[in-house]
């Protein structure tokens, strides 16, 4: 009986060692992500529904500034583009697990993001804005006035970084939509979310007619994220430079009314 136990233990140990071994091997040979993607013939793009960057039109096709650019990029690589909705918290795991090839969804380039992914050059300017109830908006037009509020921010987001930077008191929540929900239902006084999202989901014609945005906390930039060490990031930078120079990028941005915030490549 004891022999059995020690045998089982030895087996487990052996298995875990091989697991570590193969992982190290993989890290050193991950040099050509480009070859990997071209070999399998698809570029799987991790997205969330985020108008006007990635969203579905009436026919169920993925459109938006990011979706259109991703399709063009895949075309230039000679592969099929495939859009995959993901849980935003799991984006790095999705990349490392090779269940997606790229995160292309209006992603703010934070220190954390740059640490975890191989990022492209910034291509779009965005800001983090404070969301409050519309009837209280007048009181909260300066950064000083924010100290007394309880914030709700998406866990790990650029909004959370700003809350930390201004040492505001906050509760991290699942996503930006939940942060809005918290403000609307009164469980938080205010939220910090993307400017683009604030424009799209507050005010008249949305479920959050009672909310509005006030102070702009930080200007920030959007980038595209690949697996750490991937050569696709450099490839995309070339692609961006080329498409910016020939006006394609501006043309696509114009289609969604966001050309003024493009970053020169």
């Amino acid at each position: 009986m004891k022999k059995m136990i020690s045998l089982a233990l030895a087996l487990t140990l052996g298995l875990s060692l091989t697991a570590c071994g193969s992982k190290n091997a993989e890290n050193t040979e991950s040099a050509s992500d480009l070859a990997y993607v071209q070999d399998k013939g698809t570029l799987v793009v991790g997205i969330t529904e985020f108008e006007p960057m990635d969203y579905q039109d009436a026919d169920g096709n993925w459109v938006g500034f990011d979706a259109d650019m991703a399709s063009l990029f895949a075309e230039s690589l000679g592969v099929e583009v495939q859009f995959q909705l993901i849980d935003w918290d799991s984006k790095v795991m999705e990349l490392d697990g090779k269940t997606i090839d790229v995160v292309w969804n209006g992603m703010t380039l934070t220190e954390d993001v740059k640490e975890a992914m191989e990022c492209s050059n910034p291509y779009f300017n965005n800001a983090q804005v404070v969301i409050v109830k519309a009837d209280q908006a007048e009181k909260y037009q300066t950064t000083d006035s924010l100290k007394e509020l309880n914030f709700s921010v998406e866990n790990g987001s650029a909004g959370m970084e700003q809350a930390d930077a201004y040492s505001l008191s906050y509760t991290p929540v699942l996503d930006q939509a939940t942060a809005l929900l918290e403000v609307s239902s009164g469980t938080a006084d205010a939220a910090i979310i993307d400017y683009l999202m604030a424009v799209a989901s507050t005010g008249e014609g949305t479920s959050y007619e009672n909310l509005t945005y006030t102070v702009s906390l930080a200007d920030e930039q959007y980038g595209v994220g690949f697996r750490k060490g991937s050569d696709l990031a450099a490839k995309l930078n070339e692609f961006f430079a080329e498409k910016y120079a020939d006006g394609t990028m501006k043309q696509v941005a114009d289609k969604y009314g966001i050309a003024e915030k493009l970053v020169e490549q």
Binding site: Y36, E51, Q84, I86, D96, K98
Partner: protein, 222 residues
């Protein structure tokens, strides 16, 4: 607007139902296999089965979903799960079947061991084989005994399918949550998320009725 939202939720609930039925179909027989393994006199197999049951029952299903879906691709050069929704469904099905089979196996074991040993001995005296004893003496009594605890697990399973959203299977909660941002041309809608509760409630009502009827039907010896 209402129709669009309902259409999207229906589509999501279809995934929920698919996962529910696939899990039942896989876990009911697999549970019996694990149950048999955990009672066998061949001790290495018995320990292995009990070890697996301990690990699976001892860790959150949410974590198991993460591990089954992401770890293979991180360790190997390529993810074994096909790209797209089908790969995610497959990973969910594997995780749910394994998880529920372990719970079912323990319920089965309770059902089998609850049948008095004397009945098996009586069968042996009558010259029945082990298989005959199991099929004709133990099995029916076991089925009758396990219906109430199984009902509990099955109803929990209906609701647990919602965990699959963390690896982005687009089931009904995902579909409802999508309207918080933007989905099918509508932004910032609150009610679809809460409305998904109606789907679970109605379906679980049906399941409860069905299982109640089954229990009555099996009420042949009390």
């Amino acid at each position: 607007m209402f129709l669009t939202v309902i259409g999207a939720l229906n589509e999501g609930f279809l995934q929920t139902l698919k996962l529910f039925f696939v899990t039942l179909l896989g876990a009911l027989p697999l549970g019996l296999v694990i149950c048999w393994g955990s009672m066998t006199r061949f001790y290495p197999l018995r320990w292995l089965c009990r070890f697996v049951v301990w690990v699976i029952r001892g860790t959150p299903l949410m974590l198991q979903l993460y591990i089954i879906f992401f770890i293979p691709g991180i360790v190997m050069d390529q993810s074994p799960w096909p790209a797209g929704e089908s790969g995610r469904f497959l990973a969910c099905a594997v995780a749910f079947i394994l998880n529920y089979a372990c719970y079912f196996s323990e319920i089965y074991r309770g059902g089998i061991q609850g049948v008095p040993r004397g009945q098996q001995e009586a069968g042996q005296v009558l010259g029945m084989t082990k298989v005959q004893i199991f099929v004709h003496v133990t099995l029916l009594q076991m089925i009758k005994r396990i219906v109430p605890p199984m009902s509990n697990e099955i109803i929990t399973l209906v609701k647990d399918t919602s965990l699959s959203r963390i690896i982005s299977l687009q089931e009904v909660i995902w579909a409802g949550q999508a309207f918080l941002k933007t989905s099918h041309g509508y932004s910032g809608l609150l009610w679809p998320l809460f409305f998904t509760g109606v789907y679970y409630l109605v379906f679980n009502g049906l399941v409860t009725l069905l299982l109640g009827r089954l229990e009555k039907k099996l009420d042949y010896f009390s």
